[in-house]
Each structure stands twice: as C-alpha cells, then as structure tokens.
Amino acid sequence: MDNKDAKNAEEEKISKEMAQVEIMIGQILRIGVIISAVIMLIGFIAYGIQGSTGLPSHGAVTITAIATGLLSFKSGSVMMLGLFCLILTPVLRVVVSIYAFYVEKDSLYVWITSAVLVILLFALFIGHS
C-alpha cells in the first residue's frame, strides 16, 4: 500500500513538473512574439516620424544594409529586424519543443524534433546563400 502511494506521489510530482515546464515554454514563446511585435511597432512609428524607410525600394536585401540602417536607426531596417525576429519565432517553437520532450523523457521525440530543427536550419541557410 505504502509502495503504491509513493508511486502515485512520484507520478504526481512528474506531472506537476511537466505543467510548470509547459507554462514556462508558453511564456518564452509569448515573450519571443511580443519582442518581434514591439520591434516592428517601433520601426513603424519611426517611419511615421522619419517619413521614409531608408531602404532601397526594390532589389535584394543584405544583412550589411540592414545593420548599417540599424546603426543610424533607419525605420526600414528596424521593421526588417522585427520581421526577421518574427520569422525566427517558429524556430524558437521547435527548440523549446525539444526541451519539453527531453523533460518528458521521450527520447524518440527528442530525436524527431531535433531532426526537424536540423532540416529547418539547413533550409534557413539555403535561403540566405
């Protein structure tokens, strides 16, 4: 009987821990999305004040161009940075999911989700070059 109680207590502890991890992950994702929204909003307000984006109206976008624009707080570059952060939010989602499966001790899904992350990073790399 005591044995069974101990086992139940152990299970309860794990599920409580899982719930805490899930809430923490939810908060991380929320913060990630809010950060990108705030950067976009700042850039957008700056555009209203500056009246121009400070970016070429068409053609390829380079990291150097955005970085240079950020140094002089050009609204277009700030908005592009916000959009780039937004693009990274699903990647963040995959990363925290790996951690969630790790806490759950689900090694099969730690592997599966890691595979998704590797494929995704590969795609991000192709996209840049």
């Binding site: 908060q27 929320r30 999305v33 068409h58 976008v61 693009i87 939010t89 995959v94 899904y109 795609a123």
Partner: protein
C-alpha cells in the same frame, strides 16, 4: 495612412479566420493585396509568407498551455513537410507545377466532399476497435479538451503513411508554388488521419508556421518582403490570431466545419483550374 489602416484591418480579419480554420490566410490576403490594392504579386507573396508565420505564432501565444494541438503529430509530420518544401524549392523550374495543381485541386475537392459526408453523419467516430499500429508506436493517439462541448475528447490517429505522403506532397507544393498549404495540412490530418477538426486546425496552425519559416528567409533576402506592407499586416494578424485561437476553442466543431467546406471547395477548384491555365 489609409493603406496602413486597411492592412491592419485585413490582418485582423485574416488572423481571426486563419487561427480558427488552420489556414495561413493567403486566400484572403493575396487577392486583397493584388486585386483591390494593385500591389505586385511578388510583394503579395512575400507578405503572405509573413502572414502565415504571424497567424501561427499569434495563435500559439493565446494560451500558455495549449491543450488542443497534438505536438507529436506536428513534429513527426513536420519532417516530411520541411523535406518536401526544400525539395520543391530545388525542383522549381524542373518539375511542372501543372500536375501538382491538378492533383492537389482534386484532393481538396475530395476533402470537401468528405467533410460534407462527416457533417451529414452527425457524430464523428474517434475510437476504433483495432488501433493503428504505427500511430501506437509513435504515441500519436491523444486527447483534447473541447471547451464548446465541455469535455475531454480522446481520439486515435489512423493511416499515418497516407498522412505523411500528403504532408510530403504539401511540402513540395508549398516550396514549388509558394503557397501556405494550411488547407493541405488540415486535409491530411482531418480527412486522411481521421483526427478531430479542432486538433487538426490547431496542429496545422503550428506546422504551417514552421514550414513557412523554412522558405521565409529566401523571400526575406531576395527583397520580396516590403516592410511597409508586411509590418502593419503582421501586427494586425498577431492580434487577430490571438483572438481567433480563443474563439476557436468555444466554437462547436460543427460550425467550424460548415465554414470550412465552401473555402476548401473554392481553393480546390481554383487550383484545379489553374492547372488548365484558368485563373479565378
């Protein structure tokens, strides 16, 4: 200034609808941008990719703990979708999109027909006597809490290989044709793998964000993403999708399906006709 307000409003509506239906909102955004506002299709596609990610991420943050989507199904199938998306991007210019338009157009029409059948049948069968062995091995069977029905619904997942094949094809289609493919994902989950509609749409929501992120950098660096179009749209969508995700939970599944049927028929017909070079 008017353009900004229109973008925010379009984003808000597309975000609400997208989060409820598990779609990227491309079917709302692309026509508004190209037809109503006269924006170049290249920039409309760039804005559409951002819209997909904003819908997906906005829906994600509505709840700290999401008890509806199936994370295992999403991650397992994401392998097939992302590989398909990369392959599609590589095959661009080699593989003829005509065949893909015809196949996926027909599949969506079939899916719409199947949804009508489910509506007519009333209740959905969620438990089989013989559970699918692959789904058991991959621990895909799950349950979700349905707020509208106020109960926990247990369900089993079936036909994993068929679902994975459709997801792979959907990945190729999104890489090759530059479309969000949320409709394909809901189709694979709901029609082929027999998941209930709410977990299907919210799992699709998560997946389409990840798939879109895979191709988004291409659009980001080639100049397709115009900040003045994409930023107000994305801000509107983030708010809309957070609302839509909450609305979805309290809507009865039947209503969601009723909204879904005409949309899926429309996208299916549009794709099928595009295969013959007809644009509607």
């Amino acid at each position: 200034m008017t353009q900004v307000i229109i973008m925010l409003a379009v984003g808000l509506i597309a975000g609400i609808a997208g989060a409820i239906l598990g779609l990227g909102g491309g079917i709302i955004i692309t026509p508004v941008l190209t037809l109503a506002m006269g924006i170049n299709i290249k920039y409309a596609i760039g804005a559409s990719i951002i819209a997909v990610i904003a819908t997906s991420s906005g829906a994600t943050i509505a709840y700290l703990r999401d008890n509806v989507l199936n994370l295992r199904v999403a991650m397992f199938l994401e392998i097939f979708t992302t590989i398909g998306a990369i392959l599609g991007a590589i095959l661009n210019g080699i593989l003829s999109p005509v065949v893909l338009y015809l196949i996926f157009g027909l599949l969506l029409i079939y899916s719409g027909y199947n949804m009508i059948r489910k509506l007519r049948a009333g209740s959905e069968i969620l438990q089989r006597v013989h559970p699918d062995p692959i789904a058991e091995k991959l621990e895909l069977n799950s349950s979700y809490y349905d707020k509208a029905a106020d109960k926990t619904v247990d369900y089993q997942v079936e036909h994993v290989p068929a679902g994975a094949t459709v997801m792979f094809g959907a990945g190729i289609a999104s890489g090759l044709l530059g479309i969000g493919s949320g409709a394909f994902k809901v189709m694979a989950l709901d029609t082929f793998m027999k998941m209930p509609l709410k977990p299907s749409t919210s799992t699709s929501n998560l997946m389409m964000g990840v798939t879109a992120a895979a191709s988004a950098t291409v659009y980001f660096f080639n100049g397709s993403i115009q900040p003045l179009i994409a930023v107000p749209l994305a801000l509107g969508i983030l708010v809309g999708a957070t609302m839509g995700s909450r609305i979805m939970q309290i809507l009865p599944s039947r209503w969601i399906r009723i909204i879904f049927v005409p949309i899926i028929f429309y996208i299916g017909l549009q794709m099928f006709l595009k295969g013959f070079g007809v644009n509607i």
